[in-house]
Amino acid sequence: MKVFSSTCDFDYSWEEVSTANWRKYCPWNDKATHVVGVDTLSRTIDPSTGILRTERLITCNQSAPQWVVTLLGGSTTSHVYEVSYVDPVSKKVTMCSNNLTWSNVLNVRETVTYQPSSSATTQFTQEAKITALCGGWQKIKNKVEEASVERFKENAIIGREGFETVLEMSRRVFGEQRDLEKQKL
């Protein structure tokens, strides 16, 4: 198993970040064109804690290296299952995801959290545990895990840039909506 982790701060309040997070993969995000579908499967609120639990199916069209595509059977469409928890009291978003495709060869478990680091900033943490399961040589397993971690590193930077754009657009659109409502009053 190999672990990849990263952390960063966004200059937006937790309320803004946790709202924009629901549209992280919208057309505003030109850095996430590999995400071709985001479908909500279920959504419930725990009556005793108020925690919002959401299940989503994320579909990607990943441009993987040719040797990976060959190894994994030639398909580039992959699905990810994500369960997220929003705790409105402690102000914490936790998102846990797991790959559904190629899960017999590679297990990728990712946990992302968003928590306020001040009233105007939000801390993002990301941890991915990658395990190659394919039987056979340890050498190959290591190579698969290393390639996956590399990919995670690259994507983490791109992911942050894309989300910044979504945050900026969300702030602008919400601001415009507020102005419009004020004018109506």
């Binding site: 909500t40 609120i45 919002l52 299940e55 199916l57 936790t94």
Partner: protein
């Protein structure tokens, strides 16, 4: 908002997502965690989506994945 994997569900998905986002930012984050005004739209969207998930065999993959979500549930559905 992002698209659905099923193009035929896009329209109802868009309506549901818009409803949810409004509810989330205006009610849920302000402490009103009980209302479920988007439920009707969600039911329609799920009906459309579930048909496609079944056709493509994704529903069985999800069943397996759900088994492991009880772990994260017990960790993150607690009062903190």
């Amino acid at each position: 908002m992002a698209a659905s994997i099923a193009p035929e569900c896009n329209e109802i998905k868009e309506r549901y997502d818009t409803c949810f986002l409004k509810w989330y930012s205006e009610k849920y984050l302000r402490g009103n965690t009980t209302s479920n005004e988007c439920e009707e739209l969600f039911t329609k969207y799920k009906k459309c989506l579930n048909k496609v998930l079944k056709e493509r065999g994704i529903d069985t993959m999800l069943e397996d994945a759900r088994k492991s979500s009880s772990e994260t549930d017990s960790e993150f559905l607690r009062k903190s």
